[in-house]
Subunit: 207 residues, 2 copies
């Protein structure tokens, strides 16, 4: 059983993935993947962590960006290929090692041939802002307006990350088995119903 | 508990609505609504039945269409207003009379202030075609190609029907609590999980 979670920032998709994995007693891979990739591939982990969500230049003004100044197109392209190939290798490794939940990283597309159960988690902007403000780091003091800007920016980069792998659109319901709107929902409470749903689907797949 | 089902043609949304209503022991309104409207409003029931799914001209070449030849815009507009207003009245009547499932008719929007649980049911084109061919009427002998054309046409008119009521887009996941992809799913098997999910949501709403 392989479950992928794609999510809008602030929708609680990561929480949903972790709780689902707990309920199924299987591992949930999220940031762990990224660090693993970083170690395997010899990449700077901060770079890898953000490659999917920010533009490279914004994160590496002094290093990558300066390399890009010399050979902008080729360097960027070959760097992306390296990352994509490393991530594919790692994701496949996880999928092959047993049942698991993978949050983000376009795992639904990369692991398509494993026939995963694909969930998209979304919520209303009001609900995103509420969740984002509730889980601010110490010292971070975003206003609602700033939170909204941050959410939009991160989602834009998630969509663009996805487009490195596939022509299918991020968040298009046709690509997922279930799209869950968490706006009015307490995530932990829906887990039993989800487990039930996924088990039924999974039996059908086996049969 | 008010549940609305919007669906792509051939996705099994109507079956899902009926089974869900059975499991909850509440009524499911689908074509019944339309006939009821037709009787109440004094409309020709065949006209009402198709107003949401076909262009009026295509269905009424000799009657409505000829009226439209005289005053095309106003007649069409006032006819639409009459239908919309009659449907709103009927739908509200159903919602006020108790828990129920309503399939189609933009009930999610029309009954928005009842805070319904809104489901969108969709499936891959291959799966639509399979379902559509499986449930052909006697004498109907569609090819897969013809079925695809029919499906696209009906969905186009459903989307356009919706646009009489609202600016929000038909099938946009943001408007629904749950989007269910029935491509790999035997509908009757997922009903218990759905009932569970909706009960959790409904408790949250009450609490």
């Amino acid at each position: 059983m392989l479950i992928t979670i794609s999510r809008e920032f602030g929708s609680g998709g990561r929480e949903l993935g972790k709780r689902l994995a707990d309920a199924l007693s299987i591992p949930c891979y999220d940031n762990e993947i990224i660090h693993f990739v970083a170690e395997q591939g010899g990449f700077d982990s901060n770079f890898i962590a953000h490659a999917g969500e920010r533009s490279m230049k914004a994160f590496y003004p002094g290093t990558i960006a300066s390399r890009l100044m010399v050979q902008p197109v080729n360097s960027l392209a070959s760097l992306k290929i390296e990352i994509v190939s490393a991530q594919q290798k790692i994701l496949r490794g996880f999928a092959e090692s047993g049942d698991c939940v993978i949050v983000g990283r376009a795992a639904d597309i990369i692991l398509e041939d494993f026939r995963p159960f694909n969930i998209f988690v979304h919520a209303s902007m009001a609900s995103w802002i509420e969740r984002t403000l509730a889980r601010q780091h110490d010292g971070e003091n975003l206003t609602a307006k700033e939170a909204e800007r941050k959410i939009k920016e991160i989602d834009k980069h998630r969509a663009s990350y996805r487009s490195d792998f596939t022509q299918t659109k991020w968040g298009d319901k046709a690509n997922y088995h279930l799209c869950i709107n968490t706006t009015d929902i307490e995530i932990k409470k829906i887990i039993p119903a989800l487990v039930n749903y996924i088990r039924i689907w999974s039996e059908k797949e086996k049969g």
